[in-house]
């Protein structure tokens, strides 16, 4: 497949893939604690290839108990989209930063203003789990103007023809949903994870990252046998909720990195 490559995140991910590296994208809830930006830096230093910064939303329907609890804690600390973006703008981590939030945060701000704020904070991409392809057009037009790569999801239930279209329109990478369910750790990797990854690989050349229910180094390694990389959220955030702090994040991301890098 020859597809047009649109953004710098995709370009960077393609280059790393070509060099044989599996991609690792951890998620952290923005504003979770006073030192949350240190955790972003720690994750970058420990081998993340990009970091998802969660802007908490009051009604996170795609999230399980861990990220719900983190979102609530951040909101109770007074975190706002603006405060999170201002704080992370100073992070200077040398890898792409991507915002993950729900569409109402972008809609309320207004597409222009939201895109501008992301750009000014040095954010390269955005993931909006409740803005599926059919509704994403108006926002993605504005995002494109500001150089913000909007990542689209593909699910185990997504039909083949729709998957092709999602891959065509997605920017940055394509987010493969490993399991039917919300974010959260699972004892075993769902059988659907590698099926989704294979189905996506068959229809696109864009980088394929798989997440939702990828919970440890062994599972990350298992899914990246097919996919180009993994997204881990709840297992990172749980460690932060348990008070592990930036050192704990560094340790865990290091483990994931080692698992992905181990010769196959």
């Amino acid at each position: 497949m020859v597809e047009q490559v649109f953004g710098s995140i995709e370009t960077e991910f393609r280059a790393k893939r070509a060099a044989g590296r599996k991609l690792l994208v951890p998620y952290l809830t923005g504003g979770l604690s006073a030192d949350w930006v240190d955790s972003v830096r720690a994750a970058a230093a420990a081998g993340a290839d990009a970091i998802e910064i969660g802007i908490p939303f009051s009604d996170p329907v795609m999230d399980g108990p861990v990220i719900q609890a983190a979102s609530l804690r951040a909101l109770e600390r007074g975190a706002t989209p603006t405060s999170i973006l201002q704080e992370v703008a100073a992070a200077d981590v040398g890898i792409p930063l991507v915002v993950m939030t729900y569409y109402n945060i972008a809609f309320r701000a207004g597409h222009e203003r939201f895109a501008k704020e992301l750009q000014q904070a040095g954010i390269g991409g955005v993931i909006l789990p409740d803005l599926q392809m059919d509704e994403a057009g108006p926002w993605m037009e504005v995002a494109e103007i500001y150089g913000i790569e909007n990542v689209l999801f593909a699910a185990p239930t997504t039909p083949d023809d729709r998957m092709v279209e999602i891959c065509r329109r997605s920017r940055g990478w394509v987010y493969g949903i490993a399991t039917m369910g919300v974010t959260g750790e699972r004892a075993t990797l769902a059988s659907t994870a590698n099926v989704v990854a294979s189905r996506l690989k068959a229809v696109t050349d864009r980088p394929i990252l798989v997440g939702i229910g990828v919970s440890n180094a062994a599972q990350a390694r298992e899914v990246s046998a097919v996919a180009d990389g993994v997204i881990v959220g709840a297992s990172v955030v749980r460690r932060l909720l348990e008070g592990e702090g930036p050192e704990g994040v560094a340790r865990y991301i290091g483990e994931l990195r080692a698992g992905l890098d181990e010769p196959r």
Binding site: N104, D130, T157, M180
Partner: protein, 417 residues
């Protein structure tokens, strides 16, 4: 069966949504990709069922022989004399399970069965939709699980017991404000995880396309009936005003659907603490774009209402559309006005209204006093449900045990002061 009204061949304002599931600017399908195929399947299933005469016949047959349709329209002579306007009630309180919710769930349970899904999940606020869903599932042999905010489980415990008696599992929701909004969130989360075997029976004209349309179509029966009934009572005329309470807005959508193509003025009554249309800020939550109570950053606010069924920060997208084009107007009633309305209707007409439905009565009282409803005008109110479930709560708030104690004073009166 009443036929849809003719309005000279023009498409009805409350007709089909656009291909992308919108009423004007509102509606749509804002939800995780995992659920999009399920919504498409549901849309196809509904289109096929709703154009199938056998399906419609079974739906109407159950509503007639099982649920007690058509419900009557009652003229309130005592209340009318007191207020100076002629008040008519569409008596959904007399439908099986005690509210209009039965219309929707019979339709959706039949649809679930037709689509081969044996497990049904639902959210509920006051418990009326939960009870209705549990009822329809019992009737059609479907497994039923109802998500209900932990706060609502406490304040609507009678309905919790009814659901259990009907064989349903009640799942208290402890996240967020622990009310209807959070019950919807958890039902959506459960649906994401079990979508292949589970039918989500949404209780109002809200959520992602096709729910706002599908639920309105299943509720339209009450509006179509009411139009025929009021014409009988008003010598062929339509009422001047048609008034209904609005949380998500299903009972209002049902009755508005019957009158939208007439000259009747349509009025929705929101709770003061849950006035999504009243505040007029569009937003996106629970799969739809509609008016939404939210802060400057887009965080959804918690609604506060004495009635659990209206304790919702959003509103169905078609109501946002009807408001935007000026076809319906939306007003708000306070908790105190609502309590007074429950008492007034009970004492003048011998009808105990649900706290939800009493919002509509409360506005009639205020509107008649202020002249917004001119003297002598005819007013049809959708009495969407009966108030048994609220009796204890209302007695406490109105302090009726202390002002009207039993004679001799009973233990209940003593303990309630």
């Amino acid at each position: 069966m009443t036929q849809p009204i003719s309005n000279g061949g023009a498409p009805s304002i409350m007709g089909d949504p656009s291909a992308d599931g919108r009423f004007g600017d509102f509606g749509g399908r804002y939800l995780p990709e995992s659920l999009v195929p399920a919504c498409m399947e549901l849309e196809a299933g509904f289109r096929s069922a709703w154009s199938d005469d056998d399906f419609k016949a079974e739906y109407h047959s159950i509503l007639h022989h099982y649920a007690g349709r058509p419900t009557p329209v009652t003229e309130c002579r005592n209340l009318s004399e007191r207020l100076g306007v002629r008040v008519f009630l569409k008596r959904e309180d007399l439908a099986h399970t005690g509210s209009h919710k039965i219309n929707n769930v019979i339709g959706q349970a039949l649809l679930a069965r037709r689509m081969g899904k044996n497990r049904v999940i639902a959210e509920t606020g006051a418990g009326q939709h939960g009870v209705a869903t549990a009822t329809a599932c019992a009737l059609l042999g479907l497994e039923c699980e109802v998500f209900m905010g932990a706060v609502d489980v406490k304040r609507q415990f009678l309905n919790v017991q009814r659901m259990k008696l009907l064989g349903a599992t009640v799942r208290p929701v402890h996240s967020g404000s622990q009310t209807l909004k959070d019950a919807v969130n958890d039902a959506l989360r459960e649906w994401v995880a079990t979508v292949e075997t589970t039918y989500y029976c949404l209780g109002s004209v809200m959520g992602p396309h096709p729910y706002p349309w599908l639920v309105r179509e299943f509720q339209r029966v009450l509006g179509d009936e009411a139009r025929g009934q009021t014409r009988m009572l008003l010598a062929g005329k339509d009422p001047d005003f048609v008034i209904a309470c609005v949380g998500g807005g299903s009972n209002a959508a049902g009755i508005f659907g019957g009158f939208v193509d007439t000259s009747a003025k349509l009025i929705g009554v929101e709770p003061v603490g849950g006035a999504a249309v009243g505040r007029g800020i569009p937003g996106v939550v629970h799969g739809m774009k509609s008016f939404l109570m939210q802060d400057e950053h887009g965080q959804v606010l918690e609604a506060h209402s004495i009635s659990a069924g209206l304790d919702y920060p959003g509103v169905g997208p078609e109501h946002s559309h009807l408001y935007s084009i000026g076809r319906a107007q939306y007003v708000a009633a306070s908790d105190d006005e609502v309590l007074d309305a429950v008492q007034l209707l009970a004492e003048t007409e011998g009808i105990i209204a649900a706290l939800e439905s009493a919002h509509a009565i409360a506005y009639v009282v205020r509107g008649a006093e202020s002249g917004e409803l001119p003297s002598g005008s005819t007013v049809l109110v959708n009495l969407s449900g009966r108030g048994d479930k609220d009796a204890e709560h209302v007695m406490g708030r109105l302090q009726l045990c202390s002002s009207r104690p039993c004679n001799p004073v009973c233990e209940g009166c003593t303990s309630r002061g």
